[in-house]
């Protein structure tokens, strides 16, 4: 399915040119397979398959994004084994990383798309604005919508990196002034994989890409098109603070006694129970920690619409009907008092009707049936 046109050099030869030995590559694939809970034999098979294959062509398009997703992948103190992915793929276009600029860069992109039509992997980060005819995000005089539609035509598969391209992210949040949409709303006829997260964990990005280019097949996806192997469990399912949740030991405020003892952060707004991601197992920065371990509740950043789901610091069981999903006791008082006032009026009216009927029945004489209102 995916064969690049840089067919003069296989992945293995390319790696060797960069001083990356066959054994390093086997290590990388073994580690990646382990992270994806695939059997070790699959890791070996991936390594062998890729080494012989020509380098798959990849075009990376960035739209309304903060570049956090790319930073997640590339920023590290020392070269990590994840960065090997850049030696496997042929990254034919990435406006942040490539050396070329302007016309040269754009023509490199169009050439790569032409040469590898139907075979390249399209990676997208950032949401796509459609307001004002798409004018809110333009590069080289073309709107993001048009660029995406054109690039999607020749793509073998599309990988949306980050919550913005997967679900709309920040630009999509209320009131969405630019008319931003996720990629799935613009492109309908290609296999799309959503690697969501704000940003996604680097190993999740590389693991998904590796599996895609090595097997040529789209992995098992959940109903939001996220790879089930990474997004199949909630943070809550794998959280090490679960015993505290089960015992009802909740931290009440940041840095209080409970927080210092590592108690559950449910009351401080942790969205772990409803968030699907691999943070609790893979963790961040090469397994250093993840938000809950560092004392802050999960924001739910890999879920659709997480910016509009209420305060990050209100418990999941809290009421959430106001703007941006919050409600204050004052608002509650206003609403309920108004309702009560209305109820009192109706009550008084019904009591009035009842009294009227009694009065009328007395007028007509006690014992005779009241005819009521005729």
């Amino acid at each position: 399915m995916l064969h690049g046109h840089h067919g003069e050099l296989t992945v293995g030869e390319m790696l060797r040119r960069h001083g990356i030995s066959r054994r390093s590559f086997i290590k990388f694939c073994t580690a990646a397979a382990s992270a994806m809970a695939l059997p070790p034999s699959v890791g070996l098979a991936m390594a062998e398959q890729l080494r012989q294959a020509p380098r798959p062509s990849v075009v990376y398009l960035s739209f309304q994004e903060c570049t956090g997703c790319l930073e997640s992948l590339t920023r590290s103190f020392a070269p990590t084994i994840e960065n090997l992915i850049f030696n496997i793929i042929s990254l034919d276009y990435d406006d942040t990383l490539m050396a070329a600029a302007g016309e040269a860069a754009e023509s490199a992109r169009t050439k790569a798309m032409q040469d590898n039509f139907g075979k390249y992997v399209l990676i997208v980060d950032g949401s796509v604005p459609t307001g004002a005819g798409g004018a809110y995000c333009t590069a080289g005089g073309r709107s993001a919508v048009d660029t995406l539609r054109e690039a999607a035509k020749g793509a073998a598969a599309i990988v949306c990196v980050g919550t913005c391209s997967s679900f709309g992210g920040i630009p999509f949040a209320d009131p969405n002034p630019t008319g931003a949409w996720p990629v799935t709303a613009i492109v309908g006829d290609k296999p799309i994989i959503n690697v969501s997260g704000c940003p996604p964990i680097p190993e999740v990005i590389t693991g998904t890409l590796l599996q895609l280019v090595a097997t040529g097949k789209v992995p098992d996806l959940d109903e939001h098109r996220r790879p089930k192997v990474f997004f199949g469990n909630t943070i809550h399912d794998r959280c090490y603070r679960r015993p505290f949740y089960d015992q009802g030991k909740f931290a009440k405020s940041f840095d209080d006694e409970g927080a210092r003892n590592g108690w559950c952060l449910y009351e401080l707004g942790c969205k772990g129970p409803t968030t699907y991601n691999a943070c609790a197992t893979l963790k961040w920065n090469g397994g250093t920690s993840f938000p809950i371990e560092s004392g802050h509740g999960c924001l739910g950043c890999s879920e659709p619409g997480f910016w509009d789901k209420g305060s990050f610091y209100a418990a999941q069981s809290a009421a959430a009907w106001g703007k941006a999903g919050e409600v204050s006791p004052r608002q509650v008082l206003e609403v309920t008092a108004t309702a009560a006032a209305a109820g009192a009026v109706i009550g008084a009216a019904s009591a009035g009707v009842s009294r009227l009927r009694q009065h009328r029945s007395e007028q007509h004489g006690i014992g005779r049936e009241s005819k009521g209102d005729e």
Binding site: D237, G248, S317, A318, A319, V332, T336, A341, I346, G347
Partner: protein, 219 residues
């Protein structure tokens, strides 16, 4: 909008509005009804009149000696599950967070494992209550839609709550949404059925007690 946001958001708002409106309607409705003036000479002072009212609220909390044999079990059952429900609703961490978000005050709660035990006991008692209603011929004859539906909606709240805490049967998000939605339906139903006894029993007993005290009788 996903189910959870709907349950915690617009559905909750509507439920609270209907609840407040309905409850106030009914309370104001009966309070402003015409009172039949008692033309008898009062047999007790005003103080005894008022005291009689207050005392009756307490004295009618338990059946008279003669009736305990027949109604004692039912009363005990009723009290037990009421206590269980109050404990779970008011002393469980996430519930306290919910009520705190509405009213701005919080209070300490019980360990979650204890709450689970109480919930399961309450659930069992609730099933026993339905069993009694259905098997006892008098109760079966007297029971109507109101009785069964009020039982059903409260039961739904308990069951969905237990499922959500145990994380069984569906993804947590769905379970939590169903639990909050069932609470919303409970609030919607509350003013129109027998659940209003929560607001009626105290005035009802007080008024009856006061009237009887005025006549010189005890209750």
């Amino acid at each position: 909008m996903d189910l959870l946001s709907l349950a915690r958001g617009p559905a909750l708002k509507v439920a609270l509005v209907v609840f407040c409106l309905g409850v106030t309607w009914r309370i104001v409705g009966f309070t402003l009804l015409r009172v039949h003036r008692d033309l008898n000479k009062p047999r007790a002072s005003i103080a005894k009149f008022l005291a009689g009212g207050l005392i009756t609220v307490g004295s009618r909390s338990w059946p008279h000696q003669e009736f305990i044999g027949r109604t004692g079990a039912g009363e005990a059952l009723g009290y037990s599950y009421h206590l269980g429900l109050f404990a779970v609703v008011l002393l469980f961490g996430p519930h306290i967070a919910f009520l705190g978000s509405l009213f701005g005050v919080t209070w300490p709660g019980l360990p979650s494992s204890l709450i689970t035990v109480i919930s399961v006991l309450t659930l069992t008692l609730f099933l026993a209550v339905l069993f009694r209603r259905v098997t006892n011929p008098v109760m079966r004859m007297l029971s109507n839609f109101d009785d069964y539906f009020s039982w059903f909606i409260t039961m739904l709240v308990i069951v969905t709550g237990l499922a959500a805490t145990a994380h069984i049967g569906a993804p947590y998000q769905t379970l939590l949404a169903l639990h909050i939605l069932s609470v919303d339906v409970l609030l919607l139903w509350f003013p129109f059925g027998k659940l209003m006894h929560a607001f009626y029993i105290f005035p009802s007993r007080a008024i009856n007690g006061a009237i009887l005290a005025r006549k010189g009788a005890t209750s």
